[in-house]
Amino acid sequence: MDLLEELAEKFPDLVSPTQAPHQAVRNQISIALRGPDVRAIAEHFISAYGSRLVAVFAEDRVADESVFYNYYVFEQSGEPTYVILQAPIPADQPNFPSLAAGLPAVNWQEREIQDWFGLEATGHPNPRRVALHDNWPDVHPLRKSFPLREVLPPFEGERHVYRPTLGEGVFQIPVGPVHAGIIEPGHFNFAVAGEPILYLQLRMFYTHKGTEKLFEDMPIHRAVFLAESISGDSAFSHGTAFCQAIETASDIEVPLRARVMRTILLELERVCNHIGDIGAIATDVGFVVANAHASRLRELVVRLNEGLTGSRWLRGMVCVGGVRRTWSLAQRDLLRDTVNHVEREFDSLIALVQSSDSTRDRLEHTGILRPETAKVLGIVGVAGRASGVDLDVRRDHPYAAYDRYPFRVPVYQEGDVLHRMLVRVDEVRESFAILHAAANDLPEGPHCAPPEPVPPGRCALSAVEGWRGEILHWVRTAPGDRLERCKIKDPSVNNWAAIVEAVQGNIIADFPVINKSFNLSYSGTDR
């Protein structure tokens, strides 16, 4: 019995009797519900199948169907298919029952729906604004009735009221949005008792650029470049996630050579960012020599990127149907030689980092995120794997050419800064293995499928394991090479909650290294 029949039998009042004709596409099943209440089915998925609620997001279909839709994406361990519940919310009753009290992982996501669409998450334990700052006027930018180019009046009122922290000798330390280092903007409000941190409050969305709304305003071939600008350090991962969504929606078969080339470039992005992070973690505990070597190595990978794609950060390479340019034999040799060289140097870099007892002392037991906390908060990616969350899209929902190359997914239970670094070290080594195998494998053939018009009205989900973690793109296509909606979920959205947990009880001087060990994307969060 398939899932739809089973659900229809178990929850006849909840599952809609009419399902969309395209309800099952590659690796995803979409199930239409009768109303906005998904609590019973979510409960059933989680208790009966051990499913994970991957993402929650909304869509404005008021003009066509007089409803908003909430989408709930579930994943079941060992099952490559995503299950997407589509829950209609009548335009005249703009509210839906919140799941956040039982599933803290959707805390921000439900509040985003409140801010973007003006749909109230009834029963949310903390329904304050998250995506729109408190001094924004009462607008809901992702509603179709809100014009993209609307010029909003200047700021008025209080920026954000932080929870007060009281007690003898307790202080609040505000940091940001303009930080001391060369990093992205966000606001951190620490409550400290002497050195130890009692409580951290975050304020994100300083770099909100209206990205999701912009996707609705440009043709798909331009939107690929917008996807590359969601988070500049993950340009290729986000670009690939976006192109895969379009390919799924329009049944485009990506040629094998293109899939192998994408795999190689995705791994190069991982290697170059992980090496950078290992160096940055060393810097934040004062081991700058290690960072000098790491950043030198990173530069070698970045130059290889340029030799392979014409861009140091792999931009302008991925396109719908494959990749824009193919590789010559000389480029393939460049890939092999550089990977061999970087691999040798990486071993001596790690030996250097591990030779320092004082470095280890600073990293071990610092910023611990316990596995049970990580699971509840829905932490993904590197941060999750260092805290026992055994998830990796490359293995669980294979895409590109990952099904062709065996690799190991490192998982640790300790959850401290050291182990977040060790996950990166292990992953870089696995990436080298994938890169060797893929470079030898690289089959001949076309590097891009012939262009075809994108059919309107199709929905598709796409997932990519970026170097930080699980990246999701969901699209609904529109007539004329356009999009009705594009939802982007960067792994950082879930993972900020992990930093709040991990810093508690640590001294404030360790905050930079704890933050760096997560290295989340502000721009990916804020969009």
Binding site: F205, G210, H221, F225, G307, T309, R312
Partner: protein
Amino acid sequence: MFKILQETLITGIATVAYPDVPAMVSAQFRGRPEFDFKSWRDARPAADVCPTGAIVVSDVVGQADPEGTPPANRRVTVDYGLCVFCGQCADASPEGAVRVTTEFELATYHRAGLMLVADYSLNPDGTHRQFIAEYQAVLTAEDVGNQLSEAVHETLGRSLAIRQVDAGSCNGCEMEIVALNNPIHDIERFGIHFVASPRHADMLLVTGPVTRNMELALQKTYAATPDPKVIVAVGACGISGGIFGTNYASRGGVDATIPVDVYIPGCPPRPEALLYGILLAVGRL
């Protein structure tokens, strides 16, 4: 300790000598697209594929024409301040009128200095009949006044403290700015260093687009930086808003919020391009 020294000695000097010797640039690198306006037979396909609207075709309609014959004249504007260097304009212009070069030293004092303009008369099918004229966009008096004075160069030239401000970027430009500090580019060899506070800074290196949420923070950072100060806008988004443009959440380029002295194109600009722009700003080229 011995191991650390040994590792460093084995590695030797990694630093490049740019700008004294040319930068190590791969032949694949996509730098400035070069336009041969005279042989360009149709600019429309390039304008069509350009992701940021850096190539704009505007046809001048004379009299309203009931026959529907195409307009007589066309102005093509190319704006390197919007360009993300994807190279699609070259692919879409098969007669070789657009060529991607490896040039990256594009920083200028003037926003208008990044623009090229060409005029054409047209055939009935909308292709170019005759090339009329090509010119750089005219500098206004305001643009010229923008050029930094000798006095500022004199004061800031030898030792420069930079405060980097991310006013809403995607983090792409930040990664290249961080790379300026690595042993390969090593910006400290010029006496240039990054500081933690605008109060210690001579230069603000600002990436964009400036978001509505960062506008106030950028204004406050500007006010906190002592005079004389130099403001540099980095990347397509910092110069013009880039692919984000202006919308309900984005104010566009940096110069819509604070005055800018030097513009560095790129998406993101490579470290040598940043270095070129920074040295240009303090008169050390």
